[in-house]
């Protein structure tokens, strides 16, 4: 072949250069567009490619008791989670994880369902994996794409079951809760207070979660450090200090009659702070941390003794004789009776008014009684007459003023209001009849339409232990901020002393609760036996009392209710005495003894030289 003419060759070379420049120009323009013009969007995509957002849960605030003991805190726990992925690959990973983390088939299914429902967020497989499991997964990390493990704070309840009802428990926020105003700024997967103080002070305790980014590679393995960098640190929840006495609560939990249902409330007389708030049977809030098992949940809910039911603030019981003090106080307030005054009719076992005869609990009667005596012997006939003197309408009005138809407003998410007629219209509204004046006889001895929570009764006795004022019972300590006073009894110190004299006689020689008297403390109170429980044969046993140094004012109010305990003096009073003794001994630096009440001394044969016998 003749070589092409040099001129032609130059033209062809030009053509080749044009092709070269056009093609390379196209490439450069494309790269310029991608890298310089649209670079930032690709940077974003590159970051979202490799960075995964992890929520860093804030540790919930620590809860302290009145003496600074920890009631609830957090311990580090290992959680295992999966990054979002198609359900099939989630399932495959879970199935491979199952033997290492002891996941049941059922649990795997549930998790796959959860992943399907929430495609965008990470799936938490377990919150509390044992260290060995974590190590096993870590060792074989390459086999588990998309799995990440981290340390998370885990709630720990030091008091265990003793604190169950007061503290409540935590759990993952539910879809329904997220819709409510209370959980407005919450997100799925957060651990929130579900009941008790945990719910009440949720906003204080929650803290603010942090965010951190972890770098993952193409198969979702977390690269680099296990912990990663915090983009915004978690802010721990606030610490709160309670009026509760942890050791007293544990003591009550130990001492509460085995297998019985009931409640104990103890208030600090000085400020109305709640020293103890216990309900039996109880539950261990630790079981709820990290999700309660279905079996246990069903067990708790199907148990006929209702362990999740807080009897101290939600349970309502006829106050029975313990309410006679309210009648007495109202009578004194109204000035319809003098403390030393005897009622016109002596007690011969019954009293008849407007053709209605009502009995005293003691068929042979009590004879003539003044107020202290009537309280000491719980004489119905005295209180029938006192009630009639006060009059139905006034008793109802004053009882309502003292809050017997309301809740105390304790700082717990749920509290039952008392059941008490707010006026005479109550009968009209509920039973559709105008009450006869004789209705006052039932009310005066704590019967009739009157159901109170143990907490409410404690608040009333708190007024008797103080100067008549009744601060709102509160679990949280609010230093420098006096608790609100709901109401006050308009009584002179002398009148209050009269009422306390009556209560003192109950634990004095000859009183029904003499066996519960204590060596170091002036322990006084009122027993009550309330019909109308689920079983008509077995009455609820009440004891409402207070205790303090012999030469001083009362320092603690204790209310004990034992469902179907039958006898206030036998079932309720000893526990109240022992709880008060336990608290006061520690408060005043007296060594705690296991033998406390007179009854215990007698049974154990330990001499009780301090005991009074007449």
């Amino acid at each position: 072949m003749r070589g092409p003419h040099p001129h032609a060759k130059r033209g062809q070379a030009r053509g080749a250069m044009v092709v070269l420049f056009v093609l390379m120009g196209i490439l450069l323009v494309s790269f310029f567009r991608a890298q310089v013009v649209r670079g930032s969007t690709w940077v974003l995509q590159s970051d979202s490619n490799r960075l995964r957002v992890l929520q860093v849960p804030a540790p919930r605030g620590t809860v302290f008791d009145r003496y600074g003991l920890i009631i609830a805190d957090n311990v580090p726990s290992h959680s295992v989670s999966l990054f979002p992925a198609p359900a099939d690959s989630i399932r495959a990973t879970l199935e491979r994880l199952a033997p290492l983390l002891d996941l049941t088939d059922e649990r795997v299914e549930a998790l796959v369902e959860e992943a399907r429902a929430n495609r965008r967020s990470a799936l938490r497989v377990t919150d509390n994996a044992p260290y060995e499991s974590i190590a096993a997964v870590e060792e074989r990390r390459a086999e588990f794409p998309g799995v990440f493990m981290e340390m998370r704070p885990r709630r720990r309840y030091v008091g265990g079951p003793a604190m169950g009802h007061a503290l409540g428990y935590v759990g993952e926020v539910s879809a329904a809760e997220l819709e409510s105003a209370f959980f407005q700024e919450y997100e799925r997967g957060m651990i929130v207070g579900k009941d008790g103080l945990e719910r009440q002070y949720e906003h204080k305790l929650q803290g603010r979660k942090g965010v951190r980014y972890v770098e993952v590679d193409a198969v979702g393995r977390v690269v680099g450090s296990f912990e990663g960098q915090a983009a915004s640190a978690a802010v721990p929840g606030q610490e709160i200090q309670l009026n509760l006495d942890l050791e007293l609560m544990e003591y009550i939990h130990r001492e509460f009659p085995e297998g019985m249902r009931g409640a104990v409330v103890a208030l600090n007389v000085e400020d109305g702070g709640i020293l103890a708030l216990y309900s039996a049977p109880t539950f261990d809030p630790n079981d709820f941390v990290g999700g309660i098992s279905r079996t246990l949940w069903n067990e708790l809910n199907q148990d006929p003794s209702r362990p999740l039911f807080n009897r101290a603030v939600v349970g309502r019981y006829p106050p029975a004789s313990t309410w006679k003090l309210a009648t007495a106080a109202i009578g004194l307030e109204m000035g319809v009776v003098e403390p030393e005054e005897f009622m016109p009719q002596a007690c011969f076992g019954s009293y008849t008014f407007q053709g209605v005869t009502r009995r005293c609990w003691r068929p042979q009667g009590h004879g003539h009684q003044d107020m202290a005596g009537a309280i000491a012997h719980s004489c119905n006939v005295y209180f029938y007459q006192l009630g009639l003197r006060i009059g139905l309408e006034r008793l109802v009005d004053e009882g309502t003023r003292l809050g017997f138809g309301e809740a105390c407003g304790v700082d717990l998410p749920r509290e039952s209001p008392g059941v008490f007629p707010e006026s005479l219209d109550w009968w009209q509204r509920v039973y559709n009849y105008r009450p006869f004046e004789n209705e006052v006889m039932a009310l005066a001895i704590g019967q009739g339409p009157n159901d109170q929570t143990p907490l409410k009764m404690a608040q009333f006795y708190l007024a008797l232990a103080r100067d008549g004022s009744a601060p709102r019972p509160q679990l949280l300590q609010t230093p420098g901020q006096d608790p609100e006073t709901d109401w006050r009894l308009d009584l002179s110190p002398a009148s209050i002393e009269t009422l306390r004299e009556g209560l003192r006689a109950v634990t004095a020689p000859g009183g029904t609760a003499h066996m519960s008297s204590l060596q170091h403390w002036d322990f006084i109170g009122k027993t009550g036996t309330a019909q109308g429980g689920p079983s008509q044969e077995r009455a609820h046993a009440w004891f409402t009392g207070m205790a303090g140094p012999w030469d001083g004012e009362p320092e603690i109010v204790v209310v004990v209710l034992v469902e179907e305990g039958e006898s206030g003096s036998a079932a309720a009073a000893p526990l109240a005495a022992k709880a008060a003794d336990f608290h006061l001994r520690r408060k005043h630096g007296i060594p705690v003894d296991t033998i406390q009440t007179l009854g215990e001394h007698l049974r154990s044969g330990t001499p009780a030289p301090w005991a009074r016998w007449n």
Binding site: P4, Q12, L20, V43, Q45, S46, E215
Partner: protein, 400 residues
């Protein structure tokens, strides 16, 4: 000059291959392979020196036997070929004792020489379609054998060699267009209106130049175009998804190993996030975290884009432009037709490789497993590139 550019590109490549091995979770596939590439570079430079010392007459004589040997080796590869590295599943290599090489790479060299030999024996430039039959057949044989391996990317290089050689031989552009028309018809057949317009334009073109074509040729071209345009689509449509995928995977096994479009998306993200100046040498996150596929071979350019940014891309493309300009320049000044044709064959092969490889990293062209000359990891490939460079240098220096 040419050798200097080749060396610069090779060293650039080794640096990027080193970087491609720097992963957060190191992989034995990529870690430290730069050392092997460096060894291959030394081998390649030795080969370069050796080839440059050959008498150019020998090269011309060897062209046809080399072509024959290449065809035999390609045919043998289909029978005894083995896979390797990231292309485990396909038989592209021949193992001879401890040595392993890709006959397709040698075939490119042989094809360039063979085509140059064939065209340089012509008295005058091709004037009609019949003049294109022999060159097309010469390139078509190795092309088909390579496609059967299957290695679509390398096969495309033969088309580049064919067109570049025919162009330099003085073939009228019309004939080149008509030669390319069935392929164009195949590509355009995805859209009936566009294909129809194209077909009408093609008929007009043939009518316009009716005096330069035999009737049979015109009819033949139209029929082939018609078949390519109308046959492909319904046939494609009648296939089941898995059959289509199988066909695509047959054409290019490396196409989609982790799901639809993964490679392309990750490559685009890597390049785009590189920005103007890049994330820094070895610092590319897409690469480090193993999002980039084949980052040391076919997608080495994505690493450049991510770590060195648009500036690095410009430098790399600039080096390639200088290299190709040099090849064109040598072809222009050489008085020897054979030398010119070889140089243009090299130009065609490299241009196809460079444009398709870089273009696929950013989504301009479909992903085909085709390496980037001098930069991609691969011993035989690097050796071929240097052999091309040596041929270019040797033949350009040939006395008339």
């Amino acid at each position: 000059m040419l050798a200097g550019l080749a060396l610069a590109l090779s060293l650039f490549g080794i640096a990027m291959i080193y970087s491609a091995g720097v992963l957060n979770i190191p992989s034995p596939v990529t870690q430290g392979v730069w050392r092997r590439q460096l060894l291959w570079l030394l081998v390649s430079i030795s080969a370069f020196v050796a080839i440059v010392r050959l008498k150019s007459r020998w090269i011309e004589w060897a062209a046809i036997p080399a072509y024959g040997l290449a065809v035999i080796l390609l045919a043998a590869t289909l029978v005894i070929g083995t896979g390797a590295g990231t292309a485990e599943g396909v038989g592209r290599w021949i193992q001879v004792g401890p040595l392993r090489f890709q006959p397709a790479e040698f075939a490119k060299l042989a094809a360039v020489l063979g085509l140059a030999r064939l065209l340089s024996t012509r008295e005058s430039p091709p004037q009609g379609m019949r003049d294109l039959v022999a060159p097309s057949a010469l390139m078509g044989l190795p092309l088909v054998l390579v496609v059967l391996q299957p290695d679509l990317g390398t096969a495309l290089a033969f088309i580049g060699i064919l067109f570049a050689g025919l162009y330099w031989a003085g073939t009228p552009l019309l004939l080149l267009f008509l030669l390319a028309s069935p392929g164009l018809a195949l590509i355009l057949s995805f859209s009936t209106p566009i294909w129809s317009a194209y077909f009408v334009a093609l008929m007009g073109l043939i009518y316009l130049f009716r005096y330069r074509l035999y009737l049979a040729e015109s009819v033949g071209i139209l029929l082939v175009n018609l078949a390519a345009g109308t046959g492909a689509n319904p046939l494609w449509g009648r296939l089941a998804d898995y059959q289509r995928n199988r066909l695509l995977v047959f054409l290019d096994p490396g196409m989609d190993p982790r799901g639809a479009g993964w490679n392309l998306i990750q490559s685009k993200v890597a390049i785009g996030s590189g920005g103007l100046t890049g994330k820094g040498f070895t610092q590319g996150t897409q690469k480090r975290l193993d999002f980039l596929p084949e980052q040391h071979t076919d997608f080495i350019f994505s690493v450049i884009g991510e770590e060195l940014g648009f500036l690095g891309v410009t430098v790399a493309v600039g080096l390639f432009v200088l290299l190709l300009l040099r090849v064109v320049r040598l072809a222009e000044v050489t008085p020897d037709p054979f030398a010119g044709l070889v140089l243009f064959g090299i130009f065609g092969a490299w241009l196809v490789h460079i444009f398709i490889n870089i273009g696929m990293t950013i989504g301009l062209v479909p992903i085909t497993g085709i390496p980037l000359p001098f930069l991609s990891y691969g011993g035989t490939f690097l050796l071929t590139c240097w052999a091309f460079a040596a041929l270019a240098v040797r033949l350009a220096r040939r006395e008339a």
